[in-house]
Amino acid sequence: MARQAARPLSPHLQIYRWYLTMATSIAHRITGVALVLGLLLLTWWLTALARGPDSFAVVRAMTDNILGGLVLFGFTFAIFFHLVNGIRHLVWDAGVGLDKETAEQSSYLVIGVAGGLTILTWLVVLIFG
């Protein structure tokens, strides 16, 4: 590895101009990793629910405050972004929408739909919860 480090590298993140399809691609990975952390929270929630009210109250104390709410809001966006962008990937797998213009437009669509669903979800929680 050390021997290879001195070799010239191909252009990478620091060199390329940022563009939207690149950002959504990276965001897909970041939200994916974030959702694994969310999955750990789900496992904690489920095991605490099985252990009893006292254990469950500890989880509740973590999530039922401003900071916990912000984290859950972030997880909600991660869920919807990864879900909607994942469907975009499935469409790409079918060979559809891979040209530059359509991929650019679907980036906006994914961000809009994911953001809209996140806000809608939390409006329902805040109004009816």
Binding site: L35, L39, T43, L90, T121
Partner: protein, 124 residues
């Protein structure tokens, strides 16, 4: 990891890429249904007391959906982390170690989640 020595020595692909690719998509499709159900469920349960949440998970349908969510999500997550590790972790020992750790942890955590769900579902 399951490939022959010759394959991993750089003499060709390990021939397991297709299986990974298909499973990632199958678990993704399963996830579309289970995750949408999950978000709707969490919204409807927001602020609900302990007993109500326990009773909710006690229903056959909800327990089944939650188990399907846990399986599809941990499976999909393990496949995704595997791809990320293969992309960014280059030391052979660290790469193999983290791949093994991800798989084992995914199995362990998914199992403990399912045991918890069953305990609630059968106990109710």
């Amino acid at each position: 990891m399951r490939s022959t020595r010759a394959a991993v020595r750089g003499l060709g692909s390990a021939r397991h890429g297709t299986g990974h690719w298909i499973l990632q998509r199958l678990t993704a499709i399963a996830g579309v249904f289970t995750v949408l159900w999950f978000v709707a469920a969490m919204v409807s349960l927001s602020g609900a007391p302990y007993a109500e949440i326990r009773a909710w998970l006690g229903s056959n349908f909800n327990a089944t959906m939650m188990i399907l969510l846990v399986i599809s999500a941990y499976w999909h997550g393990a496949l995704g982390l595997q791809t990320i590790i293969e992309d960014y972790v280059h030391g052979p020992a660290l790469k193999l170690g983290s791949l093994v750790a991800v798989k084992l942890l995914a199995f362990a955590l998914a199992t403990s989640s399912i045991v918890a769900i069953l305990k609630v579902a059968i106990g109710s």
